[in-house]
């Protein structure tokens, strides 16, 4: 997922879970059935899982633009300072 997708997934997840919780509680209370509350909520959790957890394509509509390989070769890579590190560890 890209960054926008992650934000979207989090928002959808929070809203869906809260909405299903409210619907489940109200339905259970009005019908006088604790089991109905649990069933509606369990269904809601499952549905939310299916929508927000897998890496669906619509979560990747703003993909990160990585640097093109041909462009990267034109610029020198930074060198790792190997010799000074060795002196420090021997002390």
């Amino acid at each position: 997922m890209d960054w926008q997708g992650q934000k979207l997934a989090e928002q959808i997840m929070q809203v869906m879970l809260l909405v299903f919780a409210v619907i489940a509680f109200v339905a259970g209370y009005v019908l006088g059935s604790f089991q109905m509350m649990i069933l509606i909520y369990a269904g809601g959790v499952t549905l939310t899982t299916l929508i927000t957890v897998p890496n669906w394509p619509f979560f990747n509509r703003h993909p990160l633009k990585w640097l093109d390989p041909s462009e990267a070769e034109k610029h020198p890579k930074p060198q790792v300072a190997v010799s000074s590190k060795k002196k420090a560890t021997k002390k």
Partner: protein, 167 residues
């Protein structure tokens, strides 16, 4: 939210936290219920009334217990546990409570009932104080919830007494 496992963890944690809140609200909703139970116990017969070899009095009696406890049930009630206790005073104990009978009511439909029964548990005194004893019969109930707080209360019925002599 960068990986499958991370999102699954967040979802499950949030879902379980919300479930805990829903259960707390369900338990709080029990306080909105105003129960109006009623009960009556008649002692049909004193079957026998003896002094045991150890020196303690024992009574066997047959009761007719009728009650309407339907108003105790809410959507959050798992079952109602009821028991009948005989309560009386002796020189040794300011309060004696002896459980004579109990039952579990699993659903509202079964909460309006009558039963003709002898005492399920033995009515034995600590001593030999029961001759001519006046006692109360109390119906206690525990409303056991599906989630949250249990409510307990009772109805005290007075005016019962045992025979003056052993039978």
């Amino acid at each position: 939210m960068h990986s499958f496992g991370y999102r699954l963890n967040v979802l499950l944690t949030f879902a379980v936290t919300i479930l805990a809140l829903m259960c707390a609200m369900a338990s709080l909703s029990d306080n909105l219920n105003t129960p109006s139970p009623s009960a009556e116990i008649q002692i049909m017969n004193i079957n026998w009334f003896q002094k045991q070899p150890q020196g303690n009095d024992e009574v066997s009696l047959t009761m007719n217990i009728s009650a309407d406890l339907q108003s105790l049930f809410t959507w959050n009630t798992k079952q109602v546990f009821i028991f009948v206790a005989a309560e009386y005073e002796t020189p040794k104990n300011s309060l004696n409570q002896v459980s004579l009978w109990d039952a579990i009511i699993p659903a509202k439909e079964h909460a309006k009932f009558w039963i003709h029964t002898s005492n399920k548990y033995r009515f034995v005194d600590q001593g030999n104080n029961l001759r001519g004893k006046e006692f109360n019969l109390t119906l206690h109930w525990h409303v056991m919830p599906k989630t949250g707080k249990m409510f307990a209360n009772k109805i005290v019925m007075t005016g019962y007494s045992l025979p003056e002599e052993y039978r």
